[in-house]
Subunit: 289 residues, 2 copies
């Protein structure tokens, strides 16, 4: 999975902006051009893109438009789109977030199309009644939801690793939520028979948790971020692929987009080469299950 | 606190849209008009507005513009703005979310101004290293962060009430994060001496937790949502005001915007009347500490 995490101060040299417009409009155009070039270069070695919504939001309304354009470019290139927004809220608010990403909002002036993504990351802190609206909207759109279970950052230990009185860390309780909420999704729309439409974000930086996570969530797609810049190693991710090669998605962002800083040369060529290298590693490890 | 949670299918009759434009543009204009009218009617009885970001996001780029216009209208009316987005992510991504709300993003084309809000709600599931970037951006902007601690929905029990092996529910651990991260914020910018710049979202539907929450977070501003439609009662919130009248913010959304459905008459008059009634109750209960 090609992570799209564009810093406007570190775009590829070819990512040009129009000469006129507000700073937000010009930066959003440059960010969109950068992401399109990155998709063109590394996309053929990937199955999906994962835009980091924060980066687009920081550009205001033009950023939201750029996100829509980038998602469309990725779809045209045959890639799935995973909106990494880690949204989470209750009730109608959760429904509105889900609609923005995977649905259509009814208004008196006609329906407002959401981004039309294939998967969206969701924060489960508020509990099942805050997650169900996301699952409902996703299911109606033949899309999927990926709940944060054990994230890749060191601070994840503060909360997700809290040991429960009932036994096991908190993230195992989140894993059980993933497993129970995904129950209805296996019939159709799953990328592979036996996979559910509620998956889990499991940081690649803690591969020691993957076998246990697989026991708790046998049918969930795992999104594995944290490879590369954060220190995760692809060759340790084999347990994630227990249900088959479609059972896990390995995501890398900076290590692909900034590959030229380590290797030198053209950014696009370096990105393609790094993406192909990671694909090869992923293919090997996914066959070792 | 006046919650802004506009459903495009349930706007006030006076909230008109332009005759031309895309459904998103027209609906966003109508939503902005509705919010402005609501602020004009109920704002004088309030200290802040709390836009629900999901509702604006579901309208795409025009929705983000509408959010900016509504925030500006509220500021012009002398109100604080609390962005209720419940964002949460790690590292540079957390920084980007915070910048979108409370900072300025540097780009080669000039700085892109964020929404300029005074407070933002943040989801702490990813731990302290995911919260610190929000606190840093907020502190630089003389703004504040409100962490979800115990939310108002029934499902909050699934995760936030999980009993820890070390004793106490998970939300108490989140409360301790609030208290420790807010330490540096009391010196200036606090609305009242002794209050910190990291606060807590404590659902008004569980007033039995407030006394314990105050013990754990003596200097935190509490945002108390869930009054009205969700069943929270103002007269049970006195413990939240232990540090003084600025120690807690009582939020209501649907009970104000939809007051005319219960009482009949003009939506603006009904909203003003309900906001004034809640202000009176809040004033009484905040003096009972």
């Amino acid at each position: 999975v090609l992570g799209l995490d564009p810093d406007p101060m570190a775009l590829w040299p070819g990512a040009r902006a129009p000469a006129a417009g507000s700073p937000g409009q010009r930066a959003a155009a440059a960010v969109a051009a950068h992401c399109r070039a990155l998709i063109d270069a590394a996309g053929p070695a990937c199955v999906a893109v994962k835009p980091q919504l924060a980066r687009f939001e920081a550009l205001g309304a033009p950023g939201w438009e750029a996100l829509r354009a980038v998602a469309e470019h990725a779809r045209d290139a045959g890639l799935l789109v995973i909106a990494d927004g880690k949204r989470g809220d209750i009730d109608v608010t959760a429904g509105a977030y889900a609609t923005a990403l995977m649905g259509t909002l009814p208004t008196p002036f006609g329906g407002v199309e959401g981004l039309g993504v294939d998967m969206a990351t969701v924060n489960p802190l508020m509990g099942s009644d805050a997650i169900v609206p996301f699952v409902q909207v996703a299911r109606a759109a033949n899309a999927a939801v990926l709940l944060l279970v054990r994230t890749s950052n060191p601070g994840a230990a503060d909360v997700q690793d809290a040991e429960l009185a009932a036994g096991g860390p908190l993230w195992e309780r989140l894993a059980r939520l993933v497993d129970s909420l995904g129950a209805g999704g296996a019939a159709e729309g799953a990328v592979q028979a036996g996979l559910a439409d509620v998956g889990a974000v499991m940081g690649a930086t803690q591969p020691e948790h993957l076998a246990r996570a697989r026991t708790l969530m046998p049918r969930a797609v795992f999104l594995l971020p944290g490879v590369g810049a954060q220190g995760g190693r692809v060759d340790r991710l084999a347990p994630a692929f227990a249900p088959g090669r479609a059972g896990a998605l390995i995501a890398a962002s900076r290590s692909i987009a900034s590959a030229h800083r380590a290797s030198g040369g053209d950014p696009a060529a370096a990105a393609r080469s790094e993406a192909e290298r990671l694909r090869e590693l992923a293919w090997q490890v996914s066959g070792q299950r």
